[in-house]
Subunit: 339 residues, 3 copies
């Protein structure tokens, strides 16, 4: 793509044209004339501003095209085409998607080693790779891809264009929406952890509620989302879920929720739209985490959290309060150390 | 089942008969006349009493049969049959088991795509699903079910009626008792984390001790229980183990122990019968957690915990002491915030 | 092996000869005359000295050979041959390796049920077990073993003699060094957790950077190491990585690093050689954990940690400071409790 084509594609403004032909996106310091690279000049997610070394790497970049925020000026490489974008990182993401897609290429068809029950319904252009197993009554909509060694349980439904990497297990009756991506060895719809002590043993409460995952959800590797007891566990549209995430039975997760690595959501938790849960945070169960809540890494909700709150600690409380408590304790410890 | 039949089955007392024919169990608010539902009126596991909304849902329930504690009276739906039970939740669990069992149905036989070594011993009515692998010398007792893509290592033993969901891996020499259930992608008997630093590299200590799991144990998805170094890791009868649980080498877990999601038990920990470990709690290893101990979520034992103790925090201490410490710190932080 | 042969093999000194023929290594209390056992007399990893019971077990041991530190004298079993070793645990590890190796035996060849793409390059004496899938362009060097149901993605490279247990998934383009061991259901090279919020959805940042793992790395069960965004995630030589470990995209882990169970390293973390991260510790991302750092279990780095530091807590600080803070809080809580 030429700089002009890229500017049009990302909705940016060509600050300075160039002759480069761009074939991919990479980091500023690694780019050559066939690459686009991006630089926003803004603090990163952890609040850190770009370092001097990062500004220098920008100045020295060999990129053919630089996607920049308009505020990024000064010492820029003389030969790069420059495109101003409201959100350079987003522009780079869309451009990279344009070049390589979001999943590996696949070919329609059922591999001869796959075991597909005769009663399963298989849509157009579905790709079922080696060693996959599709049980009775399962329904794979058009364009679904099962990479290799994926198991799809009886009567499960997989929506249009969803991509399941090797080793994923989808239990019976689970419904996965369209355009979802599930990474390897994750498990969708295993039994929730429900028992009743009889006086002599833990009697299992059969988990018959199922699991319904909406469209556009991406799930990382080795994560597990349990089916509900009587009614389905639900995951809303466009959620992004990292590796080793555990979601208990009967949870209702809203749309576009972010669950980082090792998050654990105990049973019957409700999470509002757009909440962001940092690494290894979670819920103790039976509470509501409001829409737009931001939970710091390691924090755990043991009671309801209002919409939009920013919380930290376990039990999770106002993040500033938590931070103040830690600071007080550290100060006392330092003082004692000097005494 | 009629109300009378259900009362007999659960050992309850028919408080009020009805004409319903019951085919399944569900939640009070979702039930219709073909459903049984239950309500205990007691606080839930987190200590919360039923809310006004839950009492209202009971009053409005369309259930054909309600399983109630005898103390639940007042505003009850006029058409439901009522059965008094000492433990309505337990009665509902047993009734649900009666209708749907605790695992999906399966058919005996070896799927043609399964690879079963000629030297493996396969009992009566065993079901080995598509893509399973059973190595040399393995022994599957009567009624064992391997759902799909399960690997059973050399000389492993699986007890009568145990059910292994898709993707489970059982290492060589592991012994699993009767009537166990193992959910997808869990790993039984991988090497413990044992090394000795040579001065230039970590020399592996071969892990030859095996793993012995007793009868009636249920294990969730994506959990890993390691084999012992010289002697077997042991899991006692009737334990219930949730998702993403990690149990290190040489651990000895007693009977009916409860390990909630993301619990991690480091090597050589001993846990007494009936202990309950909350979500993401665990042990730092080489200590004893007594019988009947209750560990709060997130707490971690770094030294022995006496039988029956209720502990919290990391290191785990008396739960009240831990709570008091947190309260003091929060109070100081609030005070400072106002200053 | 005779005592003399063992002394030569482990580089120890025969303190007292004996007539035993040794066939394996086991624990002091479980050993008979065909076993070697070891005892260092030193505190274990948690700082605990051997107990009286352990000294008694040594005195009562039926082992044919005892591997001892020269400082271990006094009440020793009269019939055992005694070998002095600078590091008896290390000697025992090497001796056990000599008897049983570090992985189970395997036979070269491709199982008929394995699916190996015609364009894959397969070295000498490679063993590809039942149900394995090897995609186009993959390269398996001499002596690689895929146990059963392993998936190797397109163009992935597996180094000489590496052993992958059942259920492992290696994504496309991943490079694994020589003599690595990967336990069941671990996932190498899944997409990093990279998105950019568009104002209406999380746009995925394609993860094209790959993953490069050096020689001699061992990885436990159910762990996940993500591929980089633009440049590879890197794992250094001889690292040992336990179960349920999560390593985010763009991390650079040095040589011989120890990552215990449930460690989570968020994206773009750099870890120096020889660092040791205790159970469930980790990094919040975008920071550097120095060479030789020791992080206590549960501690999490949110900023750089200098080489050689010993840290604890979250955020991780000097371990003594953290301990002092905890002690102060517990003391206040005890005082309040008595008041």
């Amino acid at each position: 793509m030429t700089p002009t084509e890229i500017a049009a594609f990302v909705g940016g403004t060509l600050r300075r044209d160039g002759s480069a032909q761009i074939g991919f996106v990479t980091a500023v310091h690694a780019a050559n004339e066939t690459h686009a690279a991006w630089f926003s000049g803004k603090p990163d997610l952890t609040g850190r501003k770009p370092s001097d070394a990062q500004w220098q790497a920008l100045a020295d970049s060999g990129a053919g095209v630089l996607l920049l925020h308009e505020s990024v000026t000064g010492n820029l490489p003389p030969n790069a085409a420059l495109i101003d974008c409201a959100n350079p990182g987003l522009a780079a993401a869309k451009l990279a998607q344009r070049f390589v897609g979001v999943v590996p290429p696949s070919q329609p068809g059922v591999h001869p080693s796959a075991i597909v029950d005769a009663s399963a319904q298989i849509g157009q252009d579905v790709s079922i790779g080696p060693g996959c197993v599709v049980e009775a009554g399962a329904h794979l909509d058009d364009g679904v891809v099962l990479q290799s060694r994926v198991s799809v349980g009886a009567n499960a439904k997989l929506g249009k264009g969803s991509y399941l990497y090797s080793g994923v297990v989808v239990y019976h009756d689970v419904e996965l929406g369209a355009a979802c991506v599930v990474h390897s060895n994750s498990v969708l719809g295993a039994d929730g952890f429900g028992y009743s002590w009889s006086g002599s043993r833990h009697e299992k409460v059969p988990q018959t509620g199922g699991l319904v995952i909406a469209d556009g959800v991406e799930i990382g590797a080795c994560s597990a989302i349990d089916r509900g007891t009587f009614e389905p566990t639900q995951i809303g549209m466009g959620c992004i879920i990292d590796n080793h995430v555990q979601i208990g039975h009967n949870c209702q997760i809203g749309a576009f929720v972010v669950l980082c690595g090792q998050v654990a959501i105990a049973g019957s938790t409700v999470i509002g739209d757009g909440a962001i849960l940092g690494g290894r945070s979670g819920s103790g169960g039976h509470c509501r985490i409001g829409a737009g809540v931001q939970m710091a890494g390691l924090s755990v909700a043991f009671s309801d959290i209002p919409d939009g709150a920013i919380v930290a600690g376990a039990p999770a409380v106002d993040a500033k309060l938590d931070m103040r408590g830690r600071a007080i304790l550290r100060k006392m410890a330092r003082k004692r150390g000097r005494a």
